[in-house]
């Protein structure tokens, strides 16, 4: 089978023959860093383009179709415009926090990319507490949003930031519970182990009803966590004009925008890893021949295919549903999702102990 591992080992041995171990590590880290930033920017461009095209299809429009074939360079042109724009800053803002906030949000989003396996053997950082790391880091981004809302010296921004704070903190609970229920099944926090455990079938098929419940709760919770409609309380353009990023312009705004899309990618990637086996091809238990055929599709295609399917799902929500009210949003979490997910976790534990899963 084609594997990225062979490629990286080749590069490693070639570099090792040229210089000492310390330099090899430095060079490799630089390469990985550049690749991560490139992937970050590229994903941002692709996702913005995809969102606009999905919205266009749902709204009986054509979407961007002027810059390049099918408008594929539209987002690049938009980014160029945003880079060239003046970094305007209103009076009476808390300058330090105002400038820091977009970077906090963006760096958080970049940090989460580290333990995600994009394909077989393509993982920046293989840590044994991968799931824990993801949940921990992803909660930092709310600090950036609160910073932006507070520092902007704007009442709309403040309201948006406060809403966002309440929302992300609450929905993290049920997202965490949904993630935990898969961890319970696997018995490992390592993302590599979680994927390996799905070699004979994805958890969504193996884990019975609790896995489906966990998946549905996960999708709802992460839609809220990434501040996407119908849970886009923090922005709510018809109520708060722009929410926490009302006072941001140019590249600073673009960083928020980019981070939002990267966050969508990340939560969908995690969802794909936990429930749909990440890069693991579609395998059915003991059907060796079928599994062998499936292995011929490269692993990164499986990973991105599943992730983009989930992203499409989240975009579909956005362009179909009206927005919830802020109190209804919190009611949904604390009165429905959280009790259900706690109960589901117990059920899943029972399933795991009794070995009822496939």
């Amino acid at each position: 089978m084609f594997s990225f591992q062979n490629m990286t080992q080749e590069i490693h041995s070639w570099l090792s023959s040229l210089m000492s171990e310390t330099f090899v590590m430095l060079v490799e880290m630089t390469i990985v860093g550049i690749l991560a930033i490139a992937l970050f920017a590229f994903l941002g461009l692709v996702l913005v383009y995809m969102e606009r095209k999905v919205a266009a299809v749902i709204q009986l429009r054509k979407g961007p179709n002027r810059v390049g074939p099918f408008g594929i360079f539209q987002t690049s042109a938009d980014t160029l415009k945003l880079v060239l724009k003046e970094g305007f800053m209103p009076d009476n803002v808390d300058k330090f926090l105002y400038k820091l906030a977009p970077f906090v949000v963006m760096i958080t989003a970049m940090l989460i990319l580290a333990p995600i396996p994009f394909a077989k053997g393509v993982q920046i950082w293989d840590i044994n507490i991968g799931v824990f790391y993801l949940t921990a880091i992803s909660s930092i981004s709310v600090i950036g949003i609160l910073m932006a809302g507070w520092a902007s010296n704007n009442k709309y921004s403040l309201l948006g930031a406060m809403r966002s704070g309440a929302q992300i903190v609450s929905y993290e609970l049920s997202a965490g519970m949904a993630v935990l229920s898969i961890v319970v099944l696997t018995g490992s926090l390592n993302l590599g182990d979680i994927i390996a455990s799905q070699e004979d079938g994805w958890w969504i098929f193996k884990g019975h009803i609790p896995a489906w419940i966990a998946f549905i709760i996960y999708i709802i919770a992460v839609t809220a966590e990434t501040n996407r409609a119908p849970f886009d309380m923090a922005e709510a353009e018809s109520e708060l004009t722009g929410g926490f990023h009302t006072e941001y312009a140019g590249m600073r705004f673009a960083l928020f925008f980019l981070a939002e899309y990267i966050n969508i990618f990340i939560v969908c990637a995690i969802g794909a890893i936990l429930f749909f086996g990440g890069w693991m091809p579609f395998h059915i238990g003991s059907w060796t021949a079928f599994n062998h055929v499936m292995d011929f599709i490269p692993s990164f295609m499986w990973f991105f295919g599943k992730t983009f399917f989930l992203i499409f799902l989240i975009m579909w929500f956005r362009w179909t549903f009206p927005r919830l009210r802020v109190d209804q949003l919190l009611n949904l979490e604390w009165k429905y999702l959280l009790p259900i997910s706690i109960f589901n976790l117990l059920l899943m534990t029972l399933v795991a102990i009794k070995g009822w899963h496939f």
Partner: protein, 371 residues
């Protein structure tokens, strides 16, 4: 005017919504006092798009002043023109040909449909669902195309002149309207599937912005806002004008009084408008489209009043004539202004998100409020 703006010590926050704000659909300025996210007070501040249309009308002749009224409630421009034409005809005591009356009603109902469709899209957009706007414009576009062909304009039609119509209908008119009815009837269920039945939408609308029938009357609300509270106020039914006494239609009344009731009234009114159009489109009488009138119109000395049902409610025109070629004084009783006055009462104790939803159900057109 309103009191001095101050940030009070009891944790209340004063916020300007508008004049530049995505939810106000125009240059409406609302000053809201918030306690947390709950609205404790709301004060509308008008005048950002005041063009003194009433004063302008005093220096325009009876043929000319009708055109400035298209710019009041631009979504029911035809009905505004209709009211003004009727008041002049009342003063001159001209008989309008049957054909003109029927066509006036036809175009009025098409305008009402177009207006309600724009409202439906904008209302869903206020609630954060952006797609319905495009769905409603798909049908609205057909109506504006029909208007363009017959009246020569898509929004401010100016199709009515005292004594009848500016021109006869386009030869394609009947066929295109019939095609539109077929298209619309197949699409109206899509509206319900996409928005009305949605659980999030219903939760946002039900038990929000309650307006009791007594309050609806005392605030002077008319149109779908009052009918959503169960107050019968359809001028087409109560004081039939033009060809409205020849058609059968229901006055839609909902007793809920909340945002959802007002929403349902407009959705059902669209179906009633279609039914009126269906009854008239095959029965346009032959004849002249205009009565013979003098080139320079002079109304006799006296006071005249005429009201019509626009898409937003009752539009009253009060005209005082001194016997000259221009009105001495004109006063418009616009539906939007009275409906807006009930907003403070309706939003008290609700969240900011609800303010946007309630404003959506009032279907405000700011140039109609300010004139």
């Amino acid at each position: 005017m309103f009191e001095e703006i101050k940030t009070s010590n009891d944790g209340e926050l004063v916020i300007n919504v508008g004049p530049q704000h995505p939810a106000t659909h125009g240059v409406l300025h609302l000053l809201i006092t918030l306690n947390g996210e709950t609205i404790t007070k709301l004060e509308p501040n008008l005048g950002y798009i005041h063009r003194s249309i009433e004063k302008m009308c005093e220096s325009l002749s009876y043929r000319q002043f009708i055109y400035s009224t298209s710019r009041m409630d631009y979504l029911s421009s035809h009905m505004n023109n209709h009211a003004c034409a009727m008041i002049v005809e009342k003063g001159l005591q001209v008989e309008i040909p049957e054909r003109a009356e029927v066509i006036r009603v036809l175009i009025s109902e098409l305008t009402r449909l177009a207006s309600h469709q724009l409202w439906w899209g904008a209302m869903a957009m206020d609630l954060g669902a952006l797609s319905p706007f495009f769905y409603s414009f798909r049908e609205r576009e057909v109506i504006t195309d029909i208007m363009e062909e017959t009246c020569g304009a898509r929004l401010t039609m100016n199709y009515i002149v005292p004594g009848g119509l500016m021109a006869d209908i386009h030869p394609n008119f009947v066929k295109r309207v019939k095609d539109f009815i077929i298209q619309f009837n197949s699409k109206i269920d899509e509206y319900d599937q996409l928005v009305t039945g949605n659980i999030i939408f219903q939760n946002r609308m039900k038990n929000v912005g309650y307006l009791s029938p007594e309050d609806a009357i005392s605030y002077g609300t008319t149109g779908p806002v009052a009918r959503g509270s169960g107050v019968s106020c359809d001028i087409r039914k109560l004081y039939p004008y033009s060809a409205y006494n020849k058609v059968k239609f229901e006055e839609i009344l909902e007793t809920g009084g909340d945002s959802f009731a007002r929403y349902l009234v407009r959705i059902k009114e669209m179906k009633q408008s279609i039914s009126i159009i269906e009854q008239l489109i095959d029965n346009i009488p032959e004849g002249d489209f205009q009565a013979k009138t003098k080139a320079v119109l002079k109304l006799p000395k006296g006071e005249f009043y005429q009201r019509v049902e626009t898409a937003r409610g009752e539009l009253g025109v009060y005209l005082v004539s001194e016997g000259g070629t221009t009105p001495y004084r004109i006063k418009f009783r616009s539906p939007g202004f009275s409906n807006l006055s009930a907003l403070n009462h309706m939003v008290k104790g609700h969240k900011i998100g609800d303010l946007v939803a309630i404003m959506g159900t009032l279907d405000l057109v700011i140039p109609d409020i300010d004139r």
